[in-house]
């Protein structure tokens, strides 16, 4: 549905997006992830034909953003970071205007405006002036504007930024509700949002593509093996954590043992296994056979947060060393 190839966007002095390529399949929800200033908004602006790429190509539903911008725009609903609202219009008046410039007319227009109003839960604000609406309502009016013409692709730039927790939850469920019929690209720097709403993640940092994969694969691929957290306690007498660490390190398949802390004589470790190895049983046996108490053993899943920091930090480090050479 969306295809980006070797896309670069240069401003007067800076390179905002540097040679990125990715594809989004029909019906997917894709999270566009990156720190502030990574180039998310720029990429979205190219996809929505707001501005042309400096190099490379991008196409939506088979139409090139440079050659057939009008066709692309017909198929895209876009919610910029700040919802593009006219403060002196009433909500319905605003939606009607947007529907007209999106090419709707007559009964179809009225139907679609009502539909979008219902879908985005702004029915009770129909006759209100936009400048009197709260941030959450504005965001939803912005979203209604984007889905009005039932576009194939929805591009949402930080749809939950600046909302309160309840509104964030509402907006997320709204987005999930839209998923079936639309291909959705949403940008964010909030990771749980991606974990909760998206199937696919594209991570960019400093204008470069760092990773693109499904949420599930990404969490797996980055930490090849699993991480197990154990709590060990002496049955009798004193026990140093070094002794325990030494013992665990001898278990086959363990790549790294990290000592966390000692709490009331209980030692806490994170054990990382080698790629594709399951070490839980062996670790448990080793501890018990040594005559210690095994108080807890559980697999720890890596959060996207860690992956994200790891990826972007590695990228930044590479960029730094690249600069020195």
């Amino acid at each position: 549905m969306i295809k980006v190839e070797g896309m670069t966007k240069r401003y007067a002095r800076t390179v905002a997006v540097d040679d990125i390529s990715f594809e989004v399949q029909k019906g997917q929800i894709v999270g566009f992830l990156g720190p502030n200033g990574a180039g998310k908004t720029t990429t979205m602006r190219v996809l929505t034909c707001f501005m042309p790429p400096t190099a490379g190509t991008a196409s939506v539903a088979g139409f090139d953003v440079l050659k057939q911008p009008i066709e692309v725009k017909r198929r895209i609903g876009y919610l910029p970071e700040t919802p593009p609202l006219y403060p002196d219009m009433e909500v319905t008046e605003y939606l009607t205007f947007v529907a007209r410039i999106k090419g709707l007319a007559g009964a179809e227009l009225t139907r679609r405006v009502n539909e979008a109003t219902e879908r985005c839960n702004i029915g009770d604000a129909r006759r209100k002036h936009v400048h009197k609406l709260s941030k959450g309502y504005r965001q939803r009016v912005g979203l209604a504007q984007a889905v009005l013409h039932n576009p194939d692709v929805l591009i949402l730039d930080e749809p939950t930024a600046g909302l309160d927790p309840k509104q964030i939850l509402e907006t997320r469920s709204l987005i999930r509700g839209l998923a079936g019929d639309h291909t959705i690209v949403l940008s964010t720097h909030i990771l749980p949002e991606v974990e909760q709403t998206c199937e696919q993640v594209i991570i960019i940092s400093h204008g470069k593509l760092v990773a693109t994969d499904s949420v599930h694969n990404l969490t797996h691929r980055l930490r090849g093996g699993e991480t197990v957290r154990v709590q060990v306690e002496a049955r009798e007498g004193p026990l140093t954590h070094e002794a325990v660490q030494q013992r665990i390190e001898q278990v086959a398949g363990v790549s790294r043992v990290l000592f966390r802390e000692t709490r009331n004589g209980t030692h806490l470790f994170d054990i990382e296994s080698l790629q594709g190895q399951v070490v839980r049983a062996d670790v448990a046996r080793a501890i018990v056979e040594a005559g210690w108490n095994l108080n807890e053993l559980r697999a720890v899943s890596v959060s996207l947060e860690q992956i994200f920091l790891e990826l972007t930090a590695a990228d930044a480090a590479a960029a730094r060393s690249g600069g020195v050479q």
């Binding site: 034909c49 707001f50 009008i70 919802p83 593009p84 006219y86 205007f97 947007v98 410039i101």
Partner: protein
Amino acid sequence: MRNVVAIFEKEIKSYFKSPVAYGLLAFFALLAGFFFYFSTAFFVQRSFESQFSGRGMPMDVNEWVIRPTLMNLSVVGLFIIPMITMRLFAEEKRSGTFELLATSPVRDLEIILGKWLAAVVMYFIILLFSAINYALLFAYGKPDLKPLLVGYLGLLLQGSALLAIGTFISTTSRNQIIAGSATFAVCLLLWLLSWLTSFDAARWAQVVGYASVLTHFEPFAKGVLDSKDIVYYLTVIFFGLFLTSRSLESVRWRA
């Protein structure tokens, strides 16, 4: 075409939603009435004088009232035009709604035409308020209608030309005040150019004077319809709108 209408309607409504439109209407109506009153009073005084002096010379309302007031109105227009055009694009750029227009399936030209036509119609509505004064002339006298109509056509053409320039300047800034003042400066300059011809008869002064909007309005005020002047205004309109479309495009490239 439907997009032009949609944008046109939105703009016209937005003029009348803010106090700006009413303020401009009041300001213009007041000044028009003021000029009209003095021209008429002067005319009446002179006609009495000429009667009492015994050398009764023919006096013409068109020549003595309509022409000078039309000239005055064309100058008042210079002050009003920046206030009409300054918000057209600057406001959209500042509030982020420009991104909505630019990502909707609408051509730049349709956006520009919709906005500019709304400005022209707004200006025309303002102009109509001065027509009340002339209606009084027709109620109590027999002035010639055609020169007056030609005069209004001139006002409208001059306005449309300056509005096109104002529309262009509005695309260059996110700040309405800057857009407005810059437009005012350009309007004033285009007006002052005509002064050169009164000091200097050299070829270059004539050329520069030709570029003045006022030079081309004078024949209209006299009721003379000259294709040269119409072509001048149409050229300025085309030039202004062309610059607007170039500017919008460059806004996107630089974004």
